[in-house]
Symmetry: C2
Subunit: 455 residues, 2 copies
């Protein structure tokens, strides 16, 4: 990147993250040149190019201003990192775009033949025979009652008390989060994420033009001291985290940390989204923030993409009662009613006597995959940060501080998709980490490609 490009990228990033608001004056050429240690002519050239692109405009004698009419939102341009290799969307795009025969230890889901296809096929056949209303009509705004009732019974098993009238069906876990973001956040708000956290939280938060602060994640949950300082200094509006099995680390929230986090959140009036899409992978349930809080400041969300099928889109939100009506208005405005069909198939598959047996087999299969993968990685000097109790992820340190972004690009050219650490890290402090999916690691070629790429 040239000096001019550096200035351009920095200004674009500050506009994208609303550090520079539309209509505000940019720092003077002189001040900017001094800050970078570049010559003023470099800064002038950068500002002129930004002006040509319509991103900033000049007012004679009064300096440069951020244009009011911005270019269409481009997530790739947003945020500080313009290198696609460590862009939060890189892993998603590579995982989704490469053929399903490619090797994808970087992806975030199980191989298709690990999912509950038999239950899905039975569900589809059963729905094909259902009443014409199920086949053809919009659902009620909350979504299929029988599925919402089932979900409250499942939540109750985790200590979360919710009425079916507090449960809103959505198209996916991601859409659940997006809907709550839209509801609670205004551009410029601050949101706390775990560092590291699921990379798509970063991508989605960028789309909402909010400020993001990362709290370091420990094997017991977020670092509570750092969390308290962040609430104090940044007055965030929202904290988003995983329940149960943390993505990408595989760590589990301890009861003491859960209690302390909730206490701090309640004192600060902070809302929390607890994303529990990996719930069914747990053998021993960890504490849920939503259970302690009684769905007062915590929004609890989930989906069926990781256990039942990613091809059928269905997720849910369990929300504080007083927000349900407004969330429904927003759901209708942004996606209209939603259907009954996906919910009916999910209901059929979840209540199928085979589902529990299927998940029990998956637990065993994942435990075996972890046991096989850890020594294979160890031979390459790749070590897990912790040994997870459940789930598909290992959060691993590369040997010799290797760059995971470089490694990921090398492996991609050999047909292996990795998940480089900095896509998960707000502080960009996970450059030599990768997230490794043990369910996608059965092929010996993965380890050959890794060995060559590390050499």
């Amino acid at each position: 990147m040239t000096k001019i490009e550096t200035v351009i990228a920095d200004v674009k990033a500050k506009i994208a993250t609303v550090t520079y608001m539309p209509g505000t004056r940019l720092p003077s050429v002189r001040a900017t040149a001094k800050r970078y240690g570049f010559s003023p002519s470099t800064v002038v050239e950068a500002y002129e190019r930004l002006q040509t692109d319509g991103i900033i405009s000049s007012r004679p004698g009064a300096g440069f201003y951020v244009s009011d009419v911005t270019a269409p939102l481009s997530l790739a341009d947003m945020g500080p990192n313009l290198d696609r290799a460590v862009d939060p969307l890189w892993v998603s795009r590579q995982s989704l775009e490469t053929s399903s025969d490619a090797l994808k230890p970087g992806c975030g889901w199980l191989p298709p033949d690990w999912l509950y296809a038999e239950g899905m096929r039975r569900g589809l056949r059963s729905v094909a025979k259902a009443d014409v209303k199920v086949i053809s009509e919009y659902a009620m705004p909350l979504g299929l009652l029988a599925l919402r009732q089932l979900l409250t019974r499942r939540m109750s098993g985790l200590g979360i008390e919710a009425e079916p009238s507090q449960v809103i069906l959505t198209e996916s876990g991601t859409q659940s989060i997006d809907l709550i973001f839209r509801f609670l956040l205004t551009p410029g708000d601050t949101v706390v994420v775990d560092d590291p956290c699921y990379f798509n939280f970063h991508a989605l938060l960028r789309a909402h033009r909010v400020k993001v602060v990362g709290v370091p994640y420990t094997p017991d949950g977020p670092n509570v001291t750092a969390f308290a300082t962040i609430l104090d200094e940044h007055k965030p509006r929202l904290y988003i985290t995983n329940a149960a099995i943390h993505n990408p680390t595989g760590a589990t929230l301890s009861p003491a940390t859960a209690y302390r986090v909730l206490q701090l959140a309640q004192a600060a009036g902070l809302y929390i989204i607890e994303d529990d899409i990996f719930a069914d992978f747990e053998s021993t349930p960890a504490p849920r923030l939503a259970a302690l809080d009684g769905l007062s400041q915590v929004f609890y969300i989930g989906s069926f993409s990781k256990t039942l099928s990613a091809s059928l889109r269905c997720g849910y939100i369990a929300a504080p009662s007083e927000w349900v009506e407004s969330l429904l208005d927003l759901k209708i405005a942004t996606g209209f009613g939603g259907g009954q069909l996906a919910a009916a198939v999910v209901l059929s598959a979840l209540t199928d006597s085979g589902y529990r047996k299927h998940m029990s087999a998956i637990h065993t299969r994942l435990a075996n995959a972890r046991a096989q993968t850890i020594p294979r990685l160890a031979k390459l000097g790749i070590e897990p940060w912790l040994l997870p109790q459940a789930g598909m992820f290992l959060w691993c340190k590369l040997p010799d501080n290797n760059s995971a972004a470089t490694l990921a690009n090398r492996c991609l050219s050999q047909g292996v998709v990795l998940a480089p650490g900095n896509t998960f890290s707000q502080s960009q402090s996970a450059e030599s980490y990768i997230r490794f999916n043990v369910a996608q690691a059965n092929d010996a070629r993965i380890f050959e490609v890794l060995a060559q790429a590390l050499a």
Copy 2:
């Protein structure tokens, strides 16, 4: 509404529509009191209540300011009209929430037994036997290729030239529009809508916190003179309209109007969303803006909810090539990959030899329903604004300037859901209009209830 409530509602509406930006100073108590012709103490009381709710804050000696931290987005509070009877979401909520046995001449879709349930059942059975990847995996980011190819062939029949790589599958027509709004719009931008237009455009635009300007709709399309003036005065970013059969009027865009609108839009750099969800109801195709424009500034969207099934969620966007990659990033960030299953069922049903025959039968059935409904309405003094060539809607004037909002509330208490005119009208100039769905008007009780309510 008391005087105090009037001031509160007005301030809230101005904040919601970003007329008052966060952080800006409100007009003084004295000026506001003068403007309304109320006493200053009324305004003080209103401001104090707004302060208690955290919506505004006072700075000693410096007046009242719009709070930076706003309450969670509530669409019901947004915009000028706080009366739920003429809220843009009122018709959606009533139509979706009342039981499917209620009488709903106000709703925007066909009765379930008019849709293509047989094709759907066949599609579901066929997908139940499909490869495990179709059943279980995420789709590629653009969505199922075979369906995108089919869609480009269908578009080609309307003169719209698009490559399959320009077609993005989504969860619904509404989600298609929302995705483009998110991509193109920034809070405070101006958007042009038809007056009247589909009420959910209003709801969705409120959620995006943009300014909305209505262009009067004529039987040939938008009033071109007014359109030119709006582009000149308001510099809007986007115009959203229906292709083919206009909702709610049933009017059809004339070639001359289409040409002129596009010429003005191109000169002004205005983007257009052309919503063509009623395409398959047309007998003789009207001109498409997307065809004239060659998908350069026009985004063309559609779905299958109105002809195939509302229960299966699947829509699409045909976009200018240069925006496809960024739209995909946004689609993944906000909803992740999307599935293959809904697309596979749609593909099966659309390529089923029975679909064309089914739609041809629907055309005849709708023509008969129009012919039967018009005289039944005429007996009550309710007259259509024009006689549509196709589709399910009649845009009707009530006798004696009756208020449609009042009528709708009266009819709702008798189990009949109407669509009052002002939910469609940005200028609120359709107080004595209703949109009437002839496919939902078979029951004589509807006309009895209407007669009583008008009396």
